[in-house]
């Protein structure tokens, strides 16, 4: 395929980079730089791809196409490593580009899934991207064999060069790529044993770093198109409310204002020459909203709704073994506790934005998105044009965390662009709009009941979750007879994705669905987060009631893979060994996104009740390690994300609307609160697990368990900022 150029899809607008001097950068702090990669079409020549994943240019440049979205998690570099490994190319010659979702549709989904969520990027595409690299390699070898007139079996490919050992002849990839591209791809290829990896499995540098420290990196919000106007939106402050009226005449004469439009019956948009002028005018626009009975909803009414669910007779059963109720009733000791987990906001650093250009026969969108194909579908639906006449040109994301898996902002941009055909419209949400119109981490409560026998063995456990379902909010078609199976992440009876690790003879885990009007969504780690807080905090409560050590109590109950990763973390942290005076350990484990993770937190709480998280030790078994340096950063970053939520994260509701509007009312961890995170990788090589999300879930419970050791206080309701940790208080 040739990447076609149109007037708007210039190379600078599609993300391309070519790392020219990686070695120099690593060696001597000299300038590594990206030159814009222009494919042959721009020069009147065509460079034919070897296959959907690999294009090799005559000068040996290797362009690897990546369908998943890069949002900081490193999937781009990791997937390029996997392709390059099988391709046997020179890593320093690797550049990358995004195919568009429209091209994917046009080519019968040759790149398969664009969706980037659920920590799926590497684990669910590794097989076919490696095959793409291996097939391209075999085609290059076949072309070289024809050129050298030797059997292909006598050729070895390495580092972008094909060598005929017997004669000493060599052929560079670039010299045979054009001939190779004419060949039929092999029917099957044998993938390398990970033991033999030279690029994959290694801590190679990311491919997307330099532009991020020079200001050159273009995110969606930075995009400039010829003739572009900038828009900003105010939707009804109460999610689900409607626009009653607005007085455009009041602002139409303000500087730079081009148009004031209502969209979707629930929002007003000001289009202006600049964002600042659009924002200034929107602030002065009188609006009236119809919020109906939603105005009666508050955090208190939501809490009451959930509380009722804790003892409601009807609930969806997610995991059941034996007879938990009977076992607990007959137990020597009964332990009971109720926990809660609030709404959370993703807070991507780059607020939501999208740029759209609509004409009667084409709709193009430029945006950061975690789901290019969903954005394409949204563009088609909002424009009224068939998918074949739409496309989405993906930009790098200034954070995703699940938020950019939704396409609400894409729809809005297209609706506005449709009002001004031919004019590109960049729609930017203010931080205030972003904070108040999210799909929030769902709110839940849990009633935990455990029974211990006379020897302190856990004989029965009941978990009643009450609260909001993400699927009911966003994907009701995916509910199974009304039940949301995603509610049970980390608590499922079986499976390779999110299974419960404890052997409990009598178990009942169920969910009373209670859905407030606040939209719930996928938030990095999703339901693993609160489920791990509930389960792992309560495990410590049970161990205490049994008079047993928290680690020993868990190890008796855990299945082998769960136990191994917890032990790895505990060993590395020196759990059970003396700590500095006033320091205490807390631990937690979970299986999520196909991986097994555990964390040990070391904290102290001083006489004033001030918490200090000194150190985190985190173990991960993700099966295969593609880039240990990037896993290390994902794990450390997971604690920044998870602990920000544990310390400060809480979205509250008043008069039907979200109360928090910006970073002054929704706080996050800074560098001074960030503990040192030590990562322990214990891959067992027998499966492929995800990395971006699972560790977040152990952050809060490990710290909560350490706090309980330090203070004797069991915090059961997040965030921590509401709790006085001072002794005696």
């Amino acid at each position: 395929m040739t990447i076609h150029q149109t007037s708007l899809r210039r190379p600078s607008l599609r993300r391309r980079g070519f790392l020219v001097s990686g070695a120099a950068v690593a060696g001597g702090f000299s300038l590594g730089f990206h030159v814009p990669f222009e494919d042959g079409a721009a020069h009147g020549q065509t460079v034919k791809e070897l296959n959907a994943w690999v294009v090799i240019h005559p000068d040996d440049k290797v362009v690897i196409r990546i369908a998943r979205s890069e949002m900081g998690q490193g999937t781009l570099t990791g997937l390029c490593q996997l392709v390059a490994e099988e391709l046997e190319c020179d890593w320093n010659k690797v550049a990358w580009e995004y195919p568009t979702p429209g091209e994917n549709v046009a080519r019968n989904r040759v790149w398969k899934n664009f969706s980037t969520g659920g920590s799926r990027g590497i684990r669910e595409s590794q097989q076919y991207v490696r095959e793409g690299g291996a097939m391209a390699r075999e085609m290059l070898i076949a072309a070289a064999a024809a050129q050298l007139k030797v059997p292909a079996a006598e050729l070895i490919a390495a580092n972008s060069v094909i060598t005929h050992k017997a004669s000493g002849k060599t052929v560079a990839y670039g010299a045979v790529a054009a001939a190779a591209a004419q060949l039929e791809p092999p029917k099957e290829v044998k993938l390398k044993d990970p033991k033999d990896w030279k690029i994959a499995g290694k801590p190679v540098k990311r491919l997307d770093t330099v532009d991020k420290v020079t200001g050159k990196q273009i995110y969606g919000i930075d995009l400039v198109l010829p003739g572009m106007l900038v828009a900003t939106v105010r939707a009804c402050p109460v999610i689900g409310g409607k626009l009653k009226s607005f007085d455009a005449a009041k602002i139409e004469k303000m500087p730079g204002v081009k148009k004031v439009v209502a969209i979707d019956g629930n929002a007003v948009v000001v289009v202006a020459d600049t964002y600042w002028n659009a924002r200034t005018a929107l602030a002065a626009l009188p609006t009236d909203w119809d919020i109906g009975d939603l105005g009666k909803v508050s955090s208190e009414t939501i809490a009451a709704m959930l509380k009722e669910g804790l003892d409601a007779p009807e609930a969806f059963v997610g995991n059941k073994a034996g007879d938990a109720k009977a076992a607990i009733a007959g137990a020597a000791k009964k332990v009971e506790a109720t926990y809660s987990f609030p709404y959370q906001h993703h807070v991507t650093m780059e607020p939501m934005n999208a740029t759209a250009r609509y004409t009667a026969d084409k709709c193009e969108v430029w945006c950061g998105t975690q789901n290019g194909e969903a954005a394409l579908a949204a563009a088609s639906e909002a424009s009224g044009l068939p998918v074949a006449k739409c496309d989405v040109i993906k930009q790098l994301l200034g954070g995703g965390f699940g938020r950019r898996g939704r396409s609400d902002y894409v729809r809005q941009a297209v609706l506005v662009a449709k009002e001004m055909p031919g004019t590109p419209i960049k729609l930017i949400w203010s931080r205030e709009e972003d904070m108040t119109h999210c799909q929030y981490h769902p709110i839940t409560m849990a009633k935990m009941t455990g029974g211990l026998d006379a020897q302190g063995n856990l004989v029965g456990l009941q978990i009643r979750i009450s609260g909001q379902s993400i699927l009911a909010s966003l994907l009701p078609q995916n509910l199974q007879n009304g039940m949301d199976p995603v509610m049970f992440q980390g608590l499922m009876a079986s499976g390779v994705e999110a299974a419960y690790g404890y052997n409990v003879p009598n178990l009942l885990i169920d969910h009373a669905m209670r859905n407030p009007h606040i939209t719930a969504g996928f938030w990095r780690g999703v339901n693993t987060n609160q489920n791990a807080v509930y389960m792992e905090s309560f495990m410590d409560e049970l161990a205490d009631a049994a008079g047993q050590d928290a680690l020993a109590f868990r190890m008796k109950l855990l299945k082998p893979k769960w136990a191994a990763v917890l032990k790895a973390a505990a060993d590395k942290a020196g759990y059970g060994k003396p700590l500095p005076a006033g320091h205490f350990h807390g631990l937690a484990q979970v299986m999520g996104y196909g991986s097994y993770v555990a964390g040990v937190a070391e904290v102290s709480v001083n006489a004033d009740g001030q918490l200090k998280i000194h150190k985190i030790t985190a173990a991960t078994n993700c099966g295969h390690v593609v880039n240990p340096a990037q896993i290390d950063r994902q794990v450390a970053g997971s604690f920044a994300y998870g602990l920000s939520a544990a310390l400060y994260g809480e979205i509250t509701v008043k008069d039907g609307a979200v109360e928090q509007t910006n970073f002054d009312s929704y706080n996050m961890m800074r560098i001074d609160e960030m503990p040192h995170v030590e990562t322990v990788l214990v891959p067992t090589g027998d499966f492929w697990g995800g990395v971006g999300e699972p560790t977040i879930a152990v952050a809060a419970p490990a710290v909560l368990n350490a706090i309980a050791r330090a203070t004797g206080k069991r915090v059961r309701n997040l965030p921590l900022m509401h709790h006085e940790l001072k002794k005696g208080a």
């Binding site: 950068v25 690593a26 702090f29 000299s30 300038l31 590594g32 949002m71 900081g72 998690q73 490193g74 540098k205 990311r206 997307d208 770093t209 330099v210 532009d211 991020k212 420290v213 020079t214 200001g215 050159k216 990196q217 273009i218 995110y219 919000i221 930075d222 400039v224 900038v230 600049t274 964002y275 600042w276 002028n277 807070v347 991507t348 650093m349 780059e350 790098l396 200034g398 954070g399 995703g400 965390f401 203010s430 931080r431 950063r633 450390a636 970053g637 920044a640 994300y641 920000s644 910006n662 970073f663 002054d664 996050m668 961890m669 800074r670 560098i671 001074d672 960030m674 040192h676 995170v677």
Partner: protein, 149 residues
């Protein structure tokens, strides 16, 4: 028409004089390396140097800058060579999504100018920028590395 001294050049713009410096840089002068994060001087994504002082440009009206020297992320490697802070950032592979990193690099530039060998406590006090990906550990490491370079 107003003039700003940015990255060593006198640049003209037509924005309303009260427009925040952030939006003049981004929308009038085409310097989009300085990012919008919150607009209320909390997150630090919009950090620039004004006469060498790390400043959150979202809360600085353009007409208050006068002839003071503004340095943005684009001004650090103006000669085509990464400065030692950017080089340390690259060597340690600090950025994840990268959106906050312009502000981080600018704050670190001001810190190292004031304290060439900062302690961890100095870093804690000076680096108040928010990073949601959680690059804090690498930011700290890179500042120490740049101090040694």
């Amino acid at each position: 028409m107003a003039v700003l001294n940015v990255n060593g050049k006198a640049l003209n713009h037509n924005a309303d004089p009260r427009t925040p410096l952030l939006w003049v840089l981004r929308e009038q002068l085409g310097l989009t390396g300085t990012k919008y994060g919150c607009g209320i001087a909390q997150c630090g994504s919009c950090t620039v140097l004004i006469d060498g002082v790390a400043t959150r440009s979202c809360q600085v009206p353009a007409n208050s800058v006068g002839n003071r020297k503004v340095t943005t992320i684009e001004g650090l490697a103006a000669s085509g060579q990464l400065n030692k802070i950017q080089a340390a950032w690259v060597a340690i592979d600090v950025p994840q999504c990268g959106y906050c990193q312009s502000g981080m690099v600018m704050a670190a530039t001001a810190l190292l100018a004031a304290k060439p060998k900062p302690t961890d406590a100095d870093i804690d006090a000076a680096m108040t920028n928010i990073c949601r990906c959680g690059t804090y550990q690498q930011v700290r490491e890179a500042i120490h590395a740049a101090a040694k370079a």
